[in-house]
Every structure is written in C-alpha cells, then in structure tokens.
C-alpha cells in the first residue's frame, strides 16, 4: 500500500523520474567538481602530458564502445517496457549488465597492467586524478549494474516497468561521464 503522496504528480513529471533528474543534477556537480579540478591542473601542468601518453587509447576506445552499446540496450529495454513487454525489457537489461561486467573486466586488466608497471595512484598528480576519476566512475557503473539487476528481476515478471526507464536514464548519465573521461584521460596527450 502506497501513501497518497506518491501517487500525485503536480508538475506533470512522474515522481520517480523527477527524483532521477535531481539525482543527476547532484551527480553532475560531484563529477564536475573532480573533473574541473583535473582540467585546471592539466592546463597548469604541461608535464602531465608525459604521464597521459602512457594510457592506452585502444583500451579506452574499446570501453567507450562497450558503454555506448550498453546504452543502446538500455534504451531498447525502455522501448520494450513502454510497449508493456516486460520479459523483453528484462532481456535487454541483462545485456546492459553484461556490458557493465565487460567494462569492469577490461578496466581491471588495464589497471592491473598499469599498476604492475609502476604507475600507481601516488606516482604523480595525473595518475592520482586518473585513478580517482575513473574509480569514481567505475563505482557508479557497479552500483548501476546492481540496481539494474533488481529492476530486471521485477521487469521479467511485468512488475514496476516504469523503473526500466529510470535506471536507463541513470545509465545514460554514466555513459556520458565516460564520454568526457575518455578524451580527458586517454585522447588529449
């Protein structure tokens, strides 16, 4: 039984979706604060370019591809949910979770490789930001995948289908953060 308050929508935006927009607004400033600090240091410290040259663009590009693909499956899940096809939405969500797992797996290999070659978080300012920003992002990927598993479990039984869109919006935001992290950490040398 739900409180009456949860059933009202005076703005015309469903309550859950409105809250997701608020979550994103606060996430934008969290990531933004970190990345703005990074950009300031990066512009002030040309010597960081040498550290940035070590990062592997191929791995970064592959992970971008993985996240873009998982975004596509997330939006296709939303499309299926809108048509009332819960099991199909759940299948697409499982694909998205698979994308998240691939992303984390590749990331683990990449970090293991870099750390084993001596580029640790304390090596220099660039690496400190590299591990902090990518780590914060990876934490969001994991959290999103876990929540998505719960949403998919319900969606497979045709329950709470509106949540498919909400987790999708969050997932696209995680994708967007990576779209900016990729040039900041990998391409701009």
């Amino acid at each position: 039984m739900r409180p009456i308050a949860t059933t009202r929508a005076a703005t015309g935006i469903a309550t859950g979706k409105l809250a997701v927009w608020w979550v994103l607004a606060s996430e934008v400033v969290i990531f933004g604060g970190l990345l703005a600090s990074y950009v300031m240091f990066r512009l002030g410290h040309p010597e960081w370019a040498d550290a940035a040259a070590v990062t592997d663009t191929t791995i970064g590009a592959f992970n971008t591809f993985v996240l873009l693909t998982s975004s596509l499956t997330a939006v296709l899940a939303h499309q299926a949910a809108e048509r009332g096809d819960g099991p199909k939405a759940a299948r697409y969500l499982y694909f998205t979770i698979l994308g998240a797992a691939t992303f984390i797996g590749v990331k683990t290999y990449e970090w293991w490789y870099e750390i084993s070659h001596g580029y640790t978080i304390t090596s220099n300012g660039f690496w400190a930001f590299y591990y902090s920003a990518a780590g914060l992002h990876a934490f969001h990927v994991i959290a999103g995948a876990v929540i998505m598993a719960f949403v998919a479990r319900d969606a497979a039984k045709n329950l709470e289908l509106h949540r498919v869109e909400l987790i999708g919006i969050y997932w696209h935001f995680v994708d967007i953060v990576w779209i900016f992290l990729f040039p900041l950490l990998y391409i701009a040398k």
Binding site: T15, G33, L34, S37, G125
Partner: protein, 579 residues
Amino acid sequence: MVEPAVDLTHAHPHDDHAHHGPEGWKKYLWSTDHKVIAMQYMFTGMFMALVGGFMAYVFRMQLAFPGMNVPGFGMVSMGEYNALVTNHGTIMIFWVAMPVLLAAFGNFLIPLMVGADDMVFPKINRLSFQVFFVSTIVILASLVVEGGGFAGAWTAYPPLSANETYNLTPLGSTLWVVGVGLEFVAFLLGGINFITTLMNSRAPGMRAFDVPLVVWMIVVASILFMLSVGPLLAGAIMLIFDQTLGTGFFNPATGGDPILWQHLFWFFGHPEVYVVLLPAMGVVIEIIATFSRKKVFGYRIVIFTVVATGVLSFFVWAHHQFIAGIDPRMANIFTITTLLISVPIAELCFVYIATLYGGSIRLTTPMLWALAFVAEFLIGGVTGIFLGAAGADIYFHDTYFVLAHFHYTFFPIAIIGTYAAFTYWFPKMFGKMMDDRLGKWHFWLTIIPFNMIFIPLFVLGMGGQHRRISNYSGFSELARDGFQDVRVFATVSLLIMLAAQLIFFYNCWKTWRSGPKAPKNPWKANSLEWTTESPPPHGNWHPDEMPVVYRGPYEFSVPGRADDYWPQNEPPRRDRRDS
C-alpha cells in the same frame, strides 16, 4: 509553475487503513512515517547539541581560567583544545543546525503543510536518517579513537588536515572526513525527497504560490545544498586519498595545490550558510504572520527574494579566502558580490517589519523567539559587512571579531530559530501545550546571556585577539588591558546561558507529564497542518478527508469575516476563488 494535475482516480488508495506500519520499538528502527523520522532527526540533533554545548563549556573554561582542571573534563591540553574547537564547529553546523532545522522540521512540516500523507519516497527518507545516524556514530567515534579527535578546524584546510605528521590524528582526521561525507549523502537523499514532495504531491488546488513560505524556504535550501555539495564530495574523496594513500592533490611538493581545497570547501561552505539560514527565516515569518494576525507583506516578493539569495549565494564563496593567497583581482569581485547579498537579506527583514506594522501582536513565547531572531540576526548581518569588504577583512581575519560575527548569525539560526519552531509546533508535534511563563523565563535567560557572551568578543576581536589560541597568558601583547577579564565575563555568561537551558528541559518534562491537551489549532493559524489532530495520526488525515486548498496560507484578519483567520482548506461560500 504548473497548475496541479488533480488526479481524482487516485484519491482513495487507502482502502485498508488499518495498516499503520511497524509497532513498538520496531517503529523507531523501520518506520517510514515522516513524523517519526522527523522526531529521530530532532532528538539526534538535540543530543548532538548537548555534545557541542559541552565542548563550548570546556574550551571557554580553559580560555577564562587557563590551565584549570575543568569540572567534568579535566585538564585541557593544546591538542585537546583544538580538537574541541574543531568538533564544536563541525557538530553545531552539520549535526545540529542541519538535522534539526532542515531535516527535522522539513520532514515534519513539508507533508503536513502541502497536504500530503507522507513524503513521496518514504523508504528513501528512512534510509536518509539511517545514513545520518551512522555518520553521527562515526563523528562521535572520531573523538575517542587513538590520537584524539580531528583538530584542524572545521574548514579542514590542508596540509594540516591532509598530513598526519602535521595533525597527529591519523584516525581522527580520516573518520572526521568520512563522517562529514556520510552526512552529506544523508542530506542529499533527504533533499531529493523534500524537493520532489513539494513539486509533485501538493494537495489538490494548491498552486505554487499557495505554499507556506517555510516550505518554500526549506526546499530552496535543499536545492542550494544539492547543487553546492558536489565539488566538496569530490574534494572529500581527494582529501581521504591524500590522508590514507599519500596522493598529492593538495600537496604543492607533488604539483598539487592547497588553495584548491579552500575553493572546494567554500564553494559549498558559503551556500551552506544559506542552507541553514533560509529554513530559520521561513519559521520566523510563519510565526510573525500568525501572531501579528496579519497577511505576510509581499508574499511573492519574499519568494523571489529567497530565490535571488540562493543564486547570489553561489557567487560569494571566496570572501572567506581574502588572505589565503588568492589573486587580489578576485578579492575585488568577491567583495562586490558579498556586499550585494546583504540586499535580499535586508529585504527579508523589511518584510518582517512591514508584516508586524499595524498588526495585532501577541507576544507568546514563539513570537518572542521570532522577534529575537530578527534583532540578533541583524547584528550578525551588519558585522558581516566589515568582513565582506576585503580591506577591512584583512585586519579582522582570524580574530574574535569573525568568531563573534558568525555566532551572531549561527546562534539565531540554529538556536533561536529552532526554539521558535519548537515552541510554535510543539502542540502539533506532541499534542500538549507548553508552559508559556516558563518559556518566557527560558527566553530571557537565553537571549540576555547570549549577547553578554558575544558582544565582549567583538571588543576582543577589534583589540586584535587571535582566534586559535588556547592560553593567552603566554602572549604578553594579547594578555594586556584587562582582556582576560573580558574572557572571564564571556565564560560566566556562557555558564548562565547553559544553566538556563535546564528551564527548557524542565518545561518539556513538565508538559509531557501534566501539560494541558492541545486543540487542533491552538494558535488560530491557517496552514494545513493545523487542520488535523494534534499529534497527527499515521497518514496525517483520514484518507477520505485529505485536504483541498482554496487560498493562500496568510489570510488573516480578512475584512467581512467573523474569524480573524481563514484556513486554507475551508471551502469558500461563493464559487469564485478568493485570492
């Protein structure tokens, strides 16, 4: 704002209203009722106020009588003094002002005032308190771990906060950052709930400009908090890495920059002042309107002013850093913006005075607190002008003048505002009427010693007394001219003020035991919370009697009516909306 979409198909989901949520002790662990969560926030906040007040007592005793064996604490070493001062500031702002004013009254008032039966996300609301409770335990634990509590001031500037060889508190400082970070997460969750509840679940007929001002102000404060706290959360992650992993984000030797932390901190820290100020100002205007029996002067202009305050509050942060090594050109800009922000706040004070003018004023206890808020906060605001101007700030920085200034702003916010709200809504929260005579004794015995504490500190500050010294007897130039007598005077005043709080607790206990039962609407006010029982039942109203709103919340003394108040939910006799 959008007109509310009245969805009548959902008006009766409570067919089985016998279900009231968990009972007994489980109620306090797992209840999702906004009133229970509000009480949890309030009592946690009050407990932390006692902790913070005790710290103030200990270090004021040390300042007045250096080297004294403080009763209840013992000798105060320099490290302990710094830890006490640091955690007094942290606790009073993050664990007293925020939970009581924003979370407790926000949780209690928002659903009742907008005519909803609960928050829109009751479980997230519960999670918010649970995270907050964990953060409380973490900050209390940081005081007793090996090495003692964090002692780098509540602003936690690196390198003092980042390097354990400087601060000597390897565990305390990390726990402090973790505790503050968790607290931010709790209020982010709560803030999303507040904003969404106001935006989406207003009662049928309640337009954006029919919402009581206190709700507007709490929600604007939540928005400010959400949009400003992000960079500091990122900064907290960086600081924890600096402390534990040895990265160099804030270490110049490895290419970092300690000024960056100051920017990250104050980019949040200054809007934070308005995060706690706005709810207090909202409480005050509710009380002034009710006890002047007069419509709030310029309801809309208040809302526009509050929004303008919120926007401007993002543009002033660097006035805390005038002597921290920022570019002098930045000091010019931030001086201008800082002086500008006094305009909207002054405007709110004009609104209070204009509302009082010609009203039929009733000097009840809540009204006394509200009037005291305006008077005392004005002193805080006016002294802020000195500190906002870079030229004067260079001389006043880190003296007792700064300390007295922000206590003249934060004391009215966190203590006077809270007492005003507590005494005003006590009948609604607990269903009993408080003793007015004891309340007035408590009021006068708090307000007079408060001024006796902090006006002398202005004098000390203008005399050049530095803030962060635990024992002035070692500094001949600071211990001259009877300054020590002034410090003793302030400490004695503090003891009187702390003792006066016993009256308040006695009053609460007495009311709880034998107070008269409160009627539905003891103050004859208009807003929706006064239309339900005192205290409100689970779900606030019977599901078949959810309120419908016909007018704004301040229709006092409307000509042509027998009563001098006009509840928001009373149907008009004519068909036309009266507004």
